[in-house]
Amino acid sequence: MASITFREVEGSSLKYWLLFGGLGLFVLFGALAWNYMHHHGHVVTGMDNQIVWGLPHVFAVFLIVAASGALNVASIASVFNQKMYKPLAPLSAVLALALMLGGLLVLVLDLGRSDRLIVAMTHFNFKSMFTWNVFLYSGFFGLVGVYLWTMLDRSVANYSKAAGTAAFIWRLILTTGTGSLFGFLIARELYGTSMLAPMFIIMSFAYGLAVYLMVLAAAYAWTGRALGDAVMLRLKGLLAVFVAAVLYFTVVYHLTSLYFAKMQGVEAFILRDGGIITTLFWVGQIAIGCVLPLLILLTNLGKQRPWIMIACALIILGGLAQMYVTIIGAQAFPLDMFPGLTEKSSFADGQVHSYSPSVPEFFLGLGGVAIALLATTFGVKVLRLLPANLDDATVAKLEH
């Protein structure tokens, strides 16, 4: 196998520092948003006692899911021994760590008592999926960190496959845990199903790869390094398979629910009567997130890089819409405590709950995205993560 030279991004150009500063600005906005929410309490957010998890959770869960998916490229290289993916692996691991960091920060800073994080780290209830996730997230940092080390340090390169396999298995369990945060809830009709765990895993594959492809292409375009079509076309083919699988899971999930009379109310809400939720489902999750990207990736359009980038952006937007429908939609539909009866109370019983995200919530979420990208931008400057050249000739040599 031909060897590949990895090189840090020089990171001294005005463009680099503009990017760094721009992302830093959004991190600052996120910090200010958190400070505002923490000072006044959740009263300044759009969340209330009906919609208890809002926009920050949409961003946080998306980032956490995308994080485990971003590791895919590395897993394909190490676990499944695909040589072409090997040069792509270090960036994949760093991006996974960065996205996880961003997601966790948003999740933690949206706590009613974010100052009590230490309590969450010292008091555990092992019947809680949340507790398990605390360990899964920490373990992810540890395992992916070690895996990255085996990729960057030749003296421990022999352990790379073992570390990569461990990280791969861990990330599957981790996304099972993230899906089960919702899957293990009995109260809401749309949750409480084991379907959510595999569905979150396949979604993580799609979202993570979409983010990875955009970051990879941007890094190579902005540093003037060569990135051949062989790499892009191979990855976009994989992306199309993942998106098709997401669509398949979504269809099966809703078809199953539609079959049960007790679920028809909530399904009618999501699919037909839910206003913004319905729009986000059909236009956001299905059309923008699945159908359009598939049309691009599976036709001749998918051979052109700008179109691949558009498809990736659509998948990410569709993913955010999906999280919104999954998290907010399920809460917006009223709990059915007395089936068959209409309910009325001062606590919005029996009513569809509306939710208008506030500006601080939005900036807290964006802050998480910004910190993930900032960490990646910093990572490629200080570590040898990116091959100096990924043109088609170099990549072709790897496979022989």
Binding site: V52, L111, G112, L117, F130, L185, A187, E343, S345
Partner: protein, 257 residues
């Protein structure tokens, strides 16, 4: 050694001397009338843990629950110091420990009224999902939130099938009660007036209010004691648990739903 001991036993500062003096005086004043002694005897001493021999519960007779009456809600708010929703500036975000539900059968037009609050499940989903263990069930069946370890993640609110819990969305005003600790950013719900139970009152504020209004729709007591009023009534009246399909073994039982 003996010198050291004597130093330990002697009040070492004027503050400590004053404190000991005040404590002795308070003890004397409390003990003197004898009435205080009686009350203490009925309540549960602080150093004695709640007992699983007891299961506190409530019977709601929806056939007696009056339309338009919200005395139970007002009494709860007064006893526990949460602002009534009508007076709150942010109504959607205002905590409601108990609320009146109006139900109607769309086919028969039959109307039912009942109070809804924490059902004090034996298998409480909120307790299961709480990451820090702040949501907990006391041995006597009361489901509570530990104010010191609740991190405000709201997972319990996602898990509760009765929407019984509220997050304190803003800083609290001075309506707070000394015996009912509350705090911004934490989740809270009906405590079955645990402060009254531990004091030995043997009832809750909502039940007192309902009885005082002459409706007698609420009855509180020990469901484990076959001789208690609530156990006797539960044996006679057909009752249901809300969302019985979830099999959570509720501490609140309803008649007439």
């Amino acid at each position: 050694m003996s010198e050291h001991k004597s130093t330990e036993n002697t009040p070492s500062s004027p503050e400590r001397r004053r404190f000991v003096g005040a404590a002795a005086a308070a003890a004397g004043v409390s003990l003197a009338p004898g009435i205080m002694l009686m009350e203490v005897a009925h309540g549960r001493p602080e150093d004695q843990a709640a007992s699983s021999a007891v299961r506190w519960g409530m019977l709601v007779d929806a056939t007696k629950c009056s339309t338009g009456c919200d005395d139970c809600v007002t009494a709860c708010s007064t006893e526990n110091g949460w602002t009534p929703v009508a007076e709150s500036q942010h109504k959607n975000q205002a905590p409601q420990w108990i609320r009146k539900l109006e139900l109607q059968d769309p086919l028969t037009q039959m109307e039912t009224n009942l109070p809804m609050m924490c059902q004090h499940c034996a298998e409480a989903p909120c307790v299961d999902v709480c990451p820090t263990g702040a949501s907990f069930k006391r041995a006597d069946g009361i489901v509570l939130v530990n104010r010191h370890t609740c991190i405000g993640c709201r997972y319990c609110m996602m898990a509760c099938p009765y929407k019984a819990r509220s997050l304190v969305h803003e800083s609290l005003n001075d309506t707070q009660k000394a015996e009912v600790p509350r705090g911004i950013g934490c989740v809270e719900s009906c405590t079955l007036c645990v402060q009254k139970i531990d004091r030995g009152d043997g009832t809750t504020a909502c039940v007192e209010a309902c009885t005082a209004a002459g409706h007698n729709a609420l009855l509180f007591g020990d469901m484990n004691d076959p001789e208690s009023e609530i156990s006797k009534r539960l044996r006679e009246l057909p009752t249901k648990q809300v969302r019985a399909d979830l099999n959570l073994n509720l501490g609140v039982r309803y008649h007439g739903i």
